[in-house]
Amino acid sequence: MTESKVLSLNALSKRFGSVVANDAVSLDLHCGEVLALLGENGAGKTTLMNMLFGHYMPDGGSIDVASPDGEMQPLTLGHPQAALSAGIGMVHQHFTLAENLSALDNITLGSEPLFALRRDRAGARAKVQGIMDRTGLVAPLDTPVGKLSVGERQRVEILKALYRDARILVLDEPTAVLTPQEADTLFENIGAMTGDGLAVIFISHKLREVLAFSHRIAVLRHGTKVGEIATSDADERVIARMMVGEDTPVTQRDAMTPGAPVLTLSGINVRNPSGRDSLTDVNLTVHAHEILGIAGVSGNGQSALASVISGLRRPDSGSIHVDGDEILNPDPKTMIKAGVGRIPEDRHHDGIVGAMSVAENMVIERLDDPEVQTNGLMNRSAMAANAENLSQAYDVRGPGINARARLLSGGNIQKLILARVFEQGARLILANQPIRGLDMGAAAEVSRRLLEARAAGAGGLLISEDLDEILGLADRIMVIHDGQLTEVTSRNREDIGLKMAGEHT
């Protein structure tokens, strides 16, 4: 590792509306160095890298990149083309590949003159082959990318950057989509590349690979850089503490004696062909007067778990009991009837029908209720009265009950969903990331309502990536990792953080 600087980010800031995604973040990167950028979801890692690559225009700050002869020069911001020609390559979490083209075409795309009559395929192939030989990043060049495995596609993405002589490579959660074996190969390849002087930034929240493969670690939390440490000085505890912070806002939660089980999952298995978002032998019980928190890094099976409980997905094996009764053929309607209230993860997409009115959305899960319809005709005055009452009680603010629901803000959409769920007297509240993206006021309201339902005798299942939220609301905590649930008895953030990262200590 040489000491020459290749990149410096100077006090970069970015706001989206009222949300501060990055607040004056500065970073340096040196030739041949692997820098790991760590942080929880929403900490601002991807935003930072998107500014570096010109996808976002920063609101403040500047970027300097070393030219090939080592001189630091300011980078034109907001233009991917400028970043590319300055030698910055980025591998996005969602690949930017044309699946109908071969790997070779994807690699050369944009680096040949567009209006030439012929293409130098042989020359391009020789150059790619040279890079593959040097780095060990091997991918079939002539197969359409749509037929390649995820690992191969990622190698094509990296080859794209190296083909353009990138000297700085940004990898956004490169191992999130890889099997452990593919991940190990990737880091071997990265080792070979940095040997040639390439500088690498990789975004991750897996502590193990960060400690094993990086030289330096920078940690972001809530959009600011909270620390930077040489990997040789770091261990898991130090990093976990930096990532999750030590400030714990305490929500008032009275102790309660759990009642009878309201939801029992036994031996639930869900298999996905891709291997991601599966569940393996999941057992859990939620009691009345109790909130069970499911902590975990996203993509570890949370959405499969939520789909199973809301009846959207039938498990491959295992049984589901709600309020003591086994649900034999789970579908969304059966689950709602059985008493499952659902606060979905994607509230805009799965929580409301945006084109329908607020009043309609409030009764949409009980359309056969005689209160709102007779002989198939909707009782509009009853719906309006219902909507007025609920808007009042749950403080749903917007252009009115006849306005289309998509016109509401995120917080008000969430309150609309809360009104619908809690007014049905649900026995079990399935809350999947209920607070993410909400402002403080709406978040507090969601927490208060969850605790209220718990006091009234419902059970809660809270799925969240935010440890503060789990620690504030949950009576018991389980960690989901790679589709498996483990109960944690300790309420120590570091212990939970380690389990979330898949460590068994």
Partner: protein, 314 residues
């Protein structure tokens, strides 16, 4: 049965098939280029009319035949630009914009015709493209009359098929076009302009559609009539799906349709007494629907077709 066989073996039948297919070949290549880039262009029917009108009127005003073809292509590019701006940077519904362009281009053509020639009952005729007579080639038995005694525009249409295939499969531009129709992010991440590629493809594609229209007034007939496009544009949209977005298959589809049409004209005279003529007129369309049902199940759609892309939203 003998009659059909006799028809199928005759030179004049195959020559007619290729002639009837020519506007479809232009149109289907144009639609294919647009859709390969991710933009459905339902303006095709109107762009045909605009091409037919502009080409013919330019010749009538003294532009010469190739001058007329050039004017027609430019008119097509103009309507392509309108559709492109509406659907690409503005991201409006491609269906609505395309149908709007069809209505607009058709009406504007009729309007221009009526304004230029307010008091005529039959349109003035021009001297259209003549059938070529290429020494040696035209004298080859069977192939000569079928392929080489066509007009220059038919030759141009066949040339365009080869050109479209070459550009799509052998040039960097074609690779970029295919990429932008599959995943615009791939193009953007490599520093190319998604908007530029898509609008360019729609403009060039629309010029080809207009040439298809110009063939009608400058080669097949010698004047402009209302309603002369008669659904040819829509047939092209169907043929692209039938062809699974492949230029060679698209040529085949256009020829098949031409052959059905040529066949029905001949059968009509043979057995017209027994069966109403409308049945024969309908036959090519029925057959194209059946072909579509069979072929469309396996068609490989450009993945980003109909999906607008906006800069900075990922």
């Amino acid at each position: 049965m003998m009659d059909i066989l006799q028809i199928l073996l005759s030179e004049s039948f195959w020559a007619a098939s290729l002639r009837i297919a020519t506007p479809l070949i232009f149109g289907v290549m144009g639609a294919l280029l647009c859709e390969k880039s991710g933009v459905l262009n339902l303006g095709i029917e109107g762009i045909f009319a605009a091409g037919a009108m502009c080409g013919w009127m330019a010749v009538w005003l003294g532009a010469g035949l190739w001058g007329g073809a050039l004017i027609a292509a430019l008119a097509g590019a103009f309507f392509g630009l309108i559709h492109g701006i509406l659907t690409v940077p503005l991201g409006l519904s491609q269906h609505v914009s395309g149908l709007g362009v069809t209505l607009f281009a058709t009406s504007l053509s009729y309007f221009t015709y009526r304004t230029a020639l307010p008091n005529v009952s039959s349109p003035p005729r021009i001297e259209p493209f003549r059938a070529l007579d290429i020494p040696l080639l035209s004298d080859i038995p069977f192939l000569g009359p079928v392929l080489f005694q066509q007009t220059a525009m038919t030759m141009l249409a066949l040339l365009v098929v080869g050109l479209v295939w070459y550009v799509l499969n052998r040039t960097a531009l074609g690779v970029a076009l295919q990429a932008v129709g599959d995943n615009p992010d791939s193009v953007d991440a490599q520093g190319l302009s998604v908007y530029g590629l898509r609008i360019g493809a729609v403009m060039v594609g629309s010029s080809l559609m207009a040439l298809g229209g110009a063939f009608l007034t400058m080669s097949a007939f010698d004047a402009f009539f209302f309603g002369m496009v008669n659904g040819r544009g829509w047939i092209c949209i169907a043929l692209v799906i039938f062809a699974s977005w492949k230029p060679g298959k698209a040529l085949l589809g256009a020829l098949l349709f031409g052959a059905f049409d040529a066949l029905q004209v001949r059968l009509q005279t043979e057995v017209g007494a027994m069966v109403p003529g409308q049945v024969f007129l309908m036959a090519p369309y029925v057959l194209s629907i059946i072909a579509l049902v069979v072929a469309a199940r396996k068609a490989e759609y450009p993945r980003a077709l109909l999906t607008p892309w906006f800069k900075g939203q990922r």
